[in-house]
Structures are given as structure tokens and as C-alpha cells.
Symmetry: C2
Subunit: 100 residues, 2 copies
């Protein structure tokens, strides 16, 4: 339903107020950014991104309350998972070939 | 360095004793399975998969001690991360559109 790419897109939509600006920051086509937003809006019971019409910029997009909550929960998943797995991840990293 | 695909390949090499059989089970070309094994062997300080020459089957492959340890650590990462993140993951799932 949600991975690092979609989560980053949500975050940048929240920051920029624009789906196209958010996609551009991620070097993603306008079409792809819209498609990902439509996928997320369809997957969740409430839309995560809403259109904002009018205003000096000619409209844009914003995270809904559900969108902000999904982003918060996603960040929590990543944070607690990384924290919990830090031990075995470090053990794996110690088994990697030394760089340089 | 390691994700679900490579971890599954390691697991199946350990089970089948063959890189090509493991790849076939994952509907992966022989070439791709070998390439992934070479990537893993190059990434870690010790090879994870070793060739086994001779025998009635005409040779094959096995996990080295390092390969078995890497697979064990990878499974631990997944298990503890999933356990730790179960709460926010469930909260996200409750926000999904009901299926059917």
C-alpha cells in the first residue's frame, strides 16, 4: 500500500502544496506522480491528498488529515523497525567486505 | 546488500544444493541467479555460496558458514522489525479501504 517512494511523495506534497512540484523534486514525471496519488487515494478509505482550487498559484494539492496520519504512521513503522533491527543489521554490516 | 529476493535465493540454494534449481523455483533465469550470487559473494568478506564439485549429481552449490549466518541474521532483521512495527502497521491497515 505504501513504500518509501509514496511516503516521500506524500511528504513533499505536504511541503510544496503541489503534486507536480513534489514529483519534480523526485525526478518523477507529472503523470507518474498523479498515478501514485490516485493509487493511494483509491487504496485508503479516505483520500490522502486533496486538490486545492483557486488562489494566487492557480490551485494545488494538500495532505488531508488522513494523509498526514498515514505519513506519521509510516514514519513510525520505519523508525521502530530500524531501532528494533539495529543489532542484527550491524552484525550483517560487519560481515560485509571492507570498502576501499 | 541483501533484500527479500537475494535472501530467498540463498535459502533455496541451501535447500536444493543448486543455484540453477534455486533460480528456477523463483522463475529466474540461470544467468540472473548466478549474477545475484556473484554480487553477494563480492559484497561480503567471505563468500556466501560455494561450488561443490563432483558427486553423483555432477556438482552443485552450498551455503558456506558465512552464508548460513547471513541468512539467519536477515531472518532476524525481518522478524524483529515486523514485531516491533506491528502496532503502527495495524493502524495503517485499519485506514485502508475495506476490500470486496
Amino acid at each position: 500500500m505504501l513504500g518509501p517512494g509514496k511516503a516521500e511523495l506524500l511528504e513533499r506534497i505536504g511541503e510544496t502544496g503541489s503534486i507536480s512540484a513534489a514529483g519534480r523534486q523526485m525526478e518523477m514525471s507529472y503523470k507518474r506522480a498523479w498515478m501514485l496519488v490516485e493509487e493511494m487515494n483509491a487504496a485508503f478509505a479516505e483520500p490522502l491528498v486533496a486538490s486545492v482550487r483557486g488562489g494566487s498559484g492557480g490551485g494545488g494539492a494538500r495532505l488531508t488529515e488522513a494523509g498526514a496520519e498515514v505519513l506519521r504512521l509510516y514514519r513510525e513503522v520505519v523508525q521502530v523497525a530500524e531501532g528494533a533491527a539495529a543489532g542484527p543489521v550491524a552484525a550483517l554490516e560487519r560481515m560485509l567486505r571492507a570498502k576501499g
